[in-house]
Symmetry: C2
Subunit: 110 residues, 2 copies
């Protein structure tokens, strides 16, 4: 799972493209081959392969080749470091409101 | 607040650089001038200004000029669309675990 500075660079960069985000969205529904992933996009297969390469190097997806078909799937919790970073780096007032909400949700008899 | 596809592109791109993330981190502690923000970085002032421009165009920071000093601050909830996108696009099992955790935290007398 990416966690260092360069890894976070790669992770946020991988998510900064609408096509790559659409691929991630598709893969939340299950693994898919390159040609299945390419279908919804008005884009050449090599372009889709290039986007998948960016996602794979960032640790967001992984792939497996069976015969001539390469299948891609999401890496579990791959985007957790990005979510963690975003959660930590907010204005203090926003963080306090979050903690208050957590406190109220978790209070045993309030 | 960014919400469209191009806005999410700009937001994730703005966060894909370690220097820009460090600037955001510094600004969570309060507003700061360009020269204050530049101090910790072994980087020319124009480079820091360029990074601030990327953050400002992505809606992450805003600035105000008083006399000759331009002061930058975080835009409240600027990264919320990125957090929302990351929260929605996870594997179904991860989402189910999150909902279970929320349910247990929020259950009135369980």
């Amino acid at each position: 799972m990416p966690s260092g500075t360069a890894d976070l660079d790669a992770l946020f960069h991988a998510l900064s493209d609408a096509t790559r985000r659409a691929i991630v969205e598709r893969l939340t529904h299950g693994a898919a081959s390159v040609s299945t992933l390419a279908e919804p996009f008005a884009m050449s297969l090599p372009s889709v392969v290039q986007h998948l390469g960016v996602l794979e190097r960032a640790g967001v997806v992984e792939s497996e080749k069976t015969g001539r078909v390469r299948t891609y799937r999401l890496v579990p919790d791959a985007t957790a470091p990005a979510r963690a970073w975003l959660g930590r780096h907010r204005l203090p007032a926003e963080q306090r409101l979050d903690r208050l909400a957590e406190h109220l949700a978790g209070a045993p008899d309030a």
